[in-house]
């Protein structure tokens, strides 16, 4: 078996093998001599077009057709070309077919031949025509470079976000380049150009052409081929003398130079991995030149096309799809004849074990110490195989070896490899046609790889694989379902209802599903009704609202925004509606939504007072209008018209049947008027703005008793309040005689406590004593204490038979008047004996009142 496997290996120098093996048997009906075949990297699809270079004039007139096949040769779609003439075809890293036209337009199509988008390579390309173009992998995605008939290069680093860059001119712009390629590193893209035998590096316009030399030992006059390796680290040149030169990308290091003995320009010239190049002269020879100067030729007898991959080259021909790659080191270690690597022995041990032979043990003994390495080798080698038989062989060996060691990491790796292989085998199936190698699979990352399945509409398989690989739902199943839904909404022949329901049924409320994305696709497909239906399923209010606004469904958006409770969203919708509706319609509309209206009112209050009022007017909200007017009246600019505005406020309150406020406003307007009059009359300036009480007090202070009485009458100032004001003013003026007279004029409605208090407040203790006897009984003790008349206080308390009051007095005079304190102690004693308790304190008093109720 090993022998059979190694039989396919082709030695290139010592310890260096390349192998060529079949991936698919192809069923396509293609004649390779007159077609141009372009395959996408990573086992991607294949585009085929009749080769214009090989066409004769008569045929060239008809419009060409582009066929798109899967890597396994299944036809996917056809594009009937009826646009400009095609200069170059290529595939983007997202598997879109890119076509460069001679007028510099780059068009892209999906796998199914649907037009996606296009961009132009600039005016010069349009006017002077493009004569050559190349696609390349840039640091940003897929790039494209065109060469115009005036020998200028234009470059775009990412076809998805085309930003056109003019490349600096070649040293001579008179003659065309004999060959060129793009070198792209992590930051920039440069072009390596050969003009005749001279080489130069071109960058963006800012720098001039930079001539460089390659150390070529030949008498060539022209370099007819340049190609860079997949990783952009190496470059290969082909000269018109038939020499192949391999070196580093900066041409400083030369790896080797090999004479191919073919002088004609090769039909295809690509790197195979990063250690060898393949040179193809169609139908004649396929030569492999390795860095170590070794080379070998494969016999071919039919036309073929090459596709450079990161770890090899795929060869497409009439009946076969093959892979040519350097035999991976681990595979060599395991399978190489006479290999002494542990993996090799383990494989043999496993084989013998299956035969039931005791020799198994012998082999196993040989690797006893290195069993772990052996298992690793077999396990890893299995990954590099396309043949199921070989995979099984190696996995069995790994499993066999693994059972003699205890290592959970080996177990995990083994399980991981089984899973990976299961996935790889599933997608390599010709129905799917995605022949990825292990290295490519690992390089792509699972997300991208699932996207590729989705692009091929292999939704079911993608979900199965996502689940199988235990990818989190959001990145796996949910995302794939969402993409499925996006595709579904593009199927315009289905009815909106049906599509919406189908999508909702499948997707439900799976975590991470964005119905917005799907709805956006629906809008793109001109199905706004469907989009609306889908948006009902979107749980994220923000997305919902923004999309509805995009559809100009402001009203629906308002409902959703309000439901979300997010006031900011409501504001966004309000602003949108205001722009898209007439003001009156808008105001009429939002009245159905109290929350929106309230927010709008708040906004208007700060930004647009006029609208603010007009909303209240529309609503007949007279109370609010009144309030607006009052605020307006207080604005500094309106100080002279305040009365008028207050009257209009009163008018509003009248309409709103709020008589109290109406009269308050009118009253204040009247007060203002009167205050002005007083100011004039009394020749002072401080009346305006005072309250009724303030005015009254001021008049009393100015001894304008008559005016004060008039005011008192007009504003129906109650007696109680009048007394408070009067007492306060007299106190302030320290007019104690007048106060006394006032106290005697008639019985005070607020009692005589305020008289005592005002005297005390102005330090007139003597005056205070005048009134204390007239203080009501409840308060007497308290007021005697206030005046420090403790003996009297005690006397009253005793008369009232109130022991608590007594102890209160005692607590106040305990330190200052020990004699009185002693007396009080005596009284308390007497009281307790008589045992009739009266009430005084807070709680007792309260209960007393309660009993009265």
């Amino acid at each position: 078996m090993s022998a059979m496997i190694t039989a396919e290996w082709c030695p290139v120098g010592k310890d260096n093998f390349y192998r060529k093996f079949d991936i698919y048997q192809m069923n396509w009906d293609l004649k390779f001599d007159n077609v141009c075949v372009v395959a996408a990297q990573y086992g991607g699809p294949v585009a085929v077009i009749e080769d214009r270079k090989k066409h004769n004039a008569a045929q060239g007139l008809s419009k060409p057709t582009i066929f798109i096949y899967s890597a396994s040769g299944q036809i996917i779609s056809t594009i009937l070309w009826n646009s400009g003439s095609i200069i170059e075809l290529g595939w983007s890293s997202t598997e879109e077919l890119l076509c460069v036209q001679s007028d510099g337009i780059v068009l892209s199509y999906d796998l199914f031949g649907n037009y996606k988008h296009s961009f132009s390579m600039g005016d010069e390309a349009k006017e002077r025509k493009v004569i050559d173009a190349k696609f390349f992998n840039s640091f940003k995605g897929t790039g494209v470079v065109v060469l115009t008939s005036s020998f200028h290069f234009y470059l775009v680093n990412n076809v998805l976000e085309p930003k056109l860059r003019r490349i600096t001119d070649m040293i001579s712009t008179k003659e065309p380049p004999s060959s060129w390629c793009v070198l792209s590193d992590e930051r920039k893209s440069r072009i390596l150009v050969a003009q005749g035998k001279s080489l130069m590096l071109l960058e963006e316009m800012s720098t001039s052409a930079q001539p460089i030399c390659a150390d070529i030992n030949s008498t060539h006059t022209e370099i007819t081929g340049i190609v860079s390796s997949h990783d952009n680290q190496c470059v290969a040149l082909f000269t018109d003398t038939g020499k192949v030169w391999l070196g580093s990308a900066d041409l400083r290091v030369k790896y080797c130079e090999v004479d191919t003995r073919w002088r004609s320009k090769p039909d295809d010239f690509v790197w195979c991995g990063s250690e060898a190049v393949l040179v193809l002269w169609n139908g004649c020879s396929l030569m492999l030149v390795a860095k170590n100067e070794e080379h070998t030729t494969f016999a071919i007898n039919e036309g073929m096309s090459l596709c450079q991959e990161m770890d090899g080259v795929r060869l497409l021909s009439r009946y076969k799809h093959e892979m040519l790659q350097k035999v991976p080191t681990v595979t060599q270690e395991v399978f190489r004849i006479n290999s002494t690597e542990p993996g090799s022995f383990l494989l043999e041990a496993s084989r013998q074990f299956q035969k039931g032979s005791h020799r198994s043990d012998e082999y196993l003994r040989l690797v006893k110490d290195k069993l772990k390495t052996a298992v690793q080798q077999c396990n890893e080698a299995a990954g590099y195989e396309f043949s199921h038989e070989t995979q099984k062989l190696l996995l069995k060996a790994a499993q066999f070896g693994k059972s003699f060691i205890e290592s959970s990491t080996e177990n995990d790796k083994f399980v991981q490899m089984c899973r990976t292989l299961r996935v790889l085998n599933a997608i390599r199936d010709y129905k799917v046609g995605l022949p990825l190698t292990l290295i490519q699979f690992r390089h792509l990352r699972t997300g991208v790889f699932l996207d590729r399945l989705v692009l091929r509409k292999q939704y079911y398989l993608a979900i199965k694989i996502a689940k199988f690989l235990l990818i989190p739902e959001e990145q796996g199943e949910s995302r794939i379902l969402a993409l499925w839904a996006c595709n579904k909404v593009g199927q315009t022949h289905l009815q909106d209802d049906v599509v919406a329901r189908e999508i909702a049924d499948k997707l439900g409320q799976a975590p991470g599903i964005s119905y917005t994305e799907i709805a956006n696709k629906a809008i793109d497909a001109n199905r706004s009704q469907l989009a609306l239906k889908l948006m009902d399923f979107e749980p994220c209010a923000k997305r919902q609202v923004h999309l509805l606004l995009r559809l100009n469904e402001g009203k629906a958006a308002l409902v959703k925004a309000i439901d979300s409770g997010n006031t900011d969203l409501v504001h966004i919708v309000i602003q949108h509606l205001k722009v898209h509706m007439s003001l009156s319609d808008f105001l009429y509309y939002i009245r159905e939504f109290p929350m929106a209206q309230a927010l709008h009112l708040k906004y208007c209050r700060e930004h647009n007072k006029e609208t603010w009022k007009s909303i209240y007017e529309q609503e007949d909200d007279f109370n609010s209008l009144g309030a607006c007017s009052i605020r307006e009246a207080y604005e500094p600019k309106n100080s002279s018209t305040m009365e008028m505005i207050l009257n209009s406020a009163a008018e509003y309150y009248k309409k709103g049947k709020n008589e109290n406020y109406q009269s308050l406003c009118e009253e204040h307007a009247r007060l203002l008027r009167q205050q002005r009059a007083m100011q004039e009359k009394l020749n002072t300036s401080n009346f305006v703005g005072l309250s009724v009480n303030g005015t009254l007090k001021k008049l009393l202070l100015m001894k304008e008793q008559k005016l004060a009485d008039k005011l008192r009458q007009e504003y129906k100032i109650p007696d109680r309040r009048y007394y408070w004001v009067k007492i306060a003013t007299l106190g302030e003026q320290e007019d104690w005689t007048e106060l006394e007279r006032f106290s005697k004029a008639k019985k005070s409605p607020i009692g005589y406590e305020p008289f005592v208090d005002i005297c005390l407040a102005h330090g007139n203790k003597k005056g205070a004593e005048l009134y204390v006897s007239r203080v009501c009984d409840d308060m007497k003790v308290r007021y005697y204490v206030k005046l420090n008349l403790f003996a009297e206080a005690a006397k009253v308390a005793f008369e009232q038979r109130n022991s608590q009051a007594l102890s209160y007095v005692q607590s106040k005079c305990y330190e200052t008047h020990p004699d009185i304190s002693d007396k009080i102690a005596n009284m308390t004693h007497k009281l307790i004996r008589s045992s009739t308790q009266w009430v005084f304190a807070l709680k007792e008093h309260k209960r007393h009142k309660m009993n009265n109720v």
């Binding site: 409320q509 975590p511 749980p539 994220c540 209010a541 439901d563 979300s564 409770g565 997010n566 006031t567 900011d568 504001h571 966004i572 602003q575 109290p594 929350m595 309230a598 927010l599 708040k602 906004y603 700060e606 109370n623 309030a627 009052i630 605020r631 207080y634 500094p636 100080s639 109290n660 406020y661 308050l664 406003c665 204040h668 007060l671 703005g689 005072l690 309250s691 009724v692 009480n693 303030g694 504003y715 100032i717 109650p718 109680r720 309040r721 007394y723 408070w724 004001v725 306060a728 607020i750 305020p754 308290r782 807070l842 008093h845 309260k846 009142k849 309660m850 109720v853």
Partner: protein, 582 residues
């Protein structure tokens, strides 16, 4: 409470650390200057105090309203702001003036808790959006931890915005904040709500769950109770009589800090302000904060005695005992210090609470609660107006009368209004409108729900002991807050809210009764309950809830969440709109 709960199943510190990390992660390396929206300085300091910011190379701080930031040494300027249009204007001014001075700056704006399109548009219109584009971040910190059982959104204006402006932005923030709580602490098992705003928060919470999915944890918050402030307007205006409540009412607590004139602590400090942090890290404070003030004196005395006894113990001891004594010295000194501080504070408060104006007013308040003289013009209120005492005091009394009377007669209400306008001036007219709109004062309707509520919920308890309480009514001496009574019924009474369905029906807004929300495993041993007040709660309410869980047998761990800590003064003041011609 059982021992494992005292460690805290709901570890508020986790929320704190989470928010802190989120903030610090937004900072890049290098020296930077923070320019503050002043309204954020207090709340943010709860999570990121200055020394932490300093560690992350915040070298200078300015406030947005300050004149110029050009003295900032660092190139990087961070604006930390709420999403308010006027703040955007200030930011724009700063950026423009820096540009005029040719200072090369790198700007970053951090919105707390989230940015709005309105603000972004504002920045665009002001022509500075380009300067900050790409450096606009959101610090989604909705809840600030105040205490190991209290978290607050520190939005004192929430109630006003909700009821006066009808702007439900705080509802959205609240729902987002609760959703963050779930992320940190695990999903919410079931939800009960009372009131319109409470239901609204819950509805949004359900929506967010649909959008984000529930966090995958087995345990979390067993029961979330959302209460709309509007269902109980009496508690915020009633005078709080717990120690912490009184400190808040009389001195004012801002983000757990109070500021006092330092001469009160005659320990040779410079004259000026002394800032004291009030939280449970101080053993003594956590012991007395929830007590009725009349019991605080005794508690302080008792502590003083023990500490004095401990000091005494230093005489005549063996060497070993001496060593133990010395080891305890630092701790004893701490207790001594804290005793001194609280004795001072308590004296300051006692001076006020012993005064006749305070006692008389309290007496009237308690009469109202008992239903005495609530239906007519009250002479005490009249006299207060006549004496032109602080308008807030007057308004609070009128509100209490209106609420306890289930609304005032039109005549009475109009009379009060007129009196206030006449005495305090016409500029207060809109304040009255707002109080009316918020339901704090209103015209009597035919039904008198408060009388029924008082009876069925036992809102007024006579002769409850203040020093050794058996009922939560001790927090207002006679009145038990309605909100906390509802929580008591929900958690501890048989039948829960179902048993008091009629009561709930008479409260404003819809009711949600223990609706299952997420699947969680409930531990038999304990329950985690979060009570969220939409519109703010008072210290007294928090004390009442703490009292409740300590009192009852069943082990419950309770965390209070609120839009802000409120008291009668700031609650009333925030609803006022005093017009000003200047």
């Amino acid at each position: 409470m059982s021992s494992h709960l005292s460690g805290g199943r709901l570890n508020v510190a986790a929320l704190h650390d989470y928010a802190r990390k989120e903030l610090i992660d937004m900072f890049d390396g290098g020296a930077k200057t923070i320019v503050w929206d002043e309204g954020l300085i207090g709340p943010v300091s709860l999570i990121a105090p200055y020394n932490l910011l300093k560690e992350h190379e915040v070298n200078q701080m300015f406030s947005l309203s300050e004149g110029s930031i050009s003295s900032a040494a660092s190139r990087k300027i961070i604006f930390l702001t709420r999403a308010l249009p006027k703040m955007m204007d200030s930011i724009a001014e700063h950026v423009h003036s820096e540009e005029q001075k040719n200072h090369r700056r790198e700007y970053q704006i951090i919105f707390v808790p989230r940015k709005t399109t309105l603000c972004e548009t504002r920045l665009k219109n002001r022509g500075v959006y380009g300067n900050v584009k790409g450096a606009i971040h959101e610090w989604a910190c909705d809840f600030f931890p105040l205490e190991n059982d209290v978290i607050s959104m520190e939005q004192p204006l929430a109630f006003k915005e909700l009821l006066i402006d009808e702007d439900p932005t705080c509802i959205y923030s609240a729902a987002q904040g609760l959703s963050t709580l779930q992320d940190v602490f695990g999903p919410i098992g079931k939800v009960s709500c009372q009131g319109k705003a409470a239901k609204h928060v819950f509805d949004l919470l359900k929506r967010i769950k649909l959008e984000k999915g529930a966090p995958e944890k087995m345990t979390g918050i067993d029961h979330l109770v959302i209460l709309d402030r509007s269902i109980d307007l009496l508690s915020p205006v009633a005078t709080q009589l717990t120690y912490e409540g009184l400190i808040d009412e009389l001195i004012g607590i801002n983000h757990t800090k109070i500021t006092l004139p330092s001469e009160k602590f005659n320990n040779g400090e410079d004259p000026g302000k002394k800032t004291i942090i009030l939280n449970s890290s101080e053993d003594l404070f956590s012991d007395i904060r929830d007590k009725n003030f009349s019991a605080v004196g005794d508690a302080l005395r008792k502590r003083a005695k023990t500490i004095a006894a401990e000091y005494e113990a230093r005489h005549g001891q063996t060497m070993q005992q001496m060593r133990q004594f010395v080891a305890r010295l630092p701790q004893m000194n701490l207790i001594k210090q804290s005793l001194a501080v609280h004795t001072t504070i308590a004296e300051m408060i006692k001076e006020i609470t012993d005064s006749f104006p305070f006692m008389d007013s309290l007496l009237v308040e308690q009469e109202f609660m008992n239903g005495i003289d609530t239906d007519k013009i009250h002479p005490f209120i009249e006299d207060q107006i006549g004496q032109q005492v602080d308008i807030i005091k007057v308004l609070r009394l009128i509100c209490i009368q209106s609420i306890t009377n289930s609304g005032l007669k039109q005549k009475v209400l109009d009379y009060y209004k007129k009196e206030i306008i006449h005495v305090y001036g016409f500029e207060h007219i809109l304040s009255l409108t707002h109080l009316e709109k918020a339901g704090l004062i209103r015209v009597q309707q035919s039904a008198r729900p408060f009388t029924v509520l008082r009876k069925t919920l036992r809102l007024v308890v006579q002769d409850g002991s203040e020093s050794n309480p058996t009922d939560m009514s001790y927090v207002h001496s006679v009145y038990a807050p309605l909100t906390t009574r509802l929580v008591q019924h929900l958690i501890y009474k048989p039948g829960g809210w179902r048993a008091i369905q009629d009561v709930l029906n008479s409260l404003p807004g819809p009711t949600v009764m223990e609706e299952p929300f997420c699947d969680i495993q409930t531990l038999d041993s304990s329950k985690v309950v979060v009570v969220f007040f939409v519109g703010g709660c008072t210290m007294a309410e928090i004390s009442a809830l703490r009292f409740l869980v300590q009192q009852e047998e069943a082990p419950v761990e309770l965390v209070v969440a609120t839009t802000a800590i409120i008291n009668g003064n700031n609650f009333t003041r925030n609803l006022m709109e005093v017009l000003n011609q200047k």
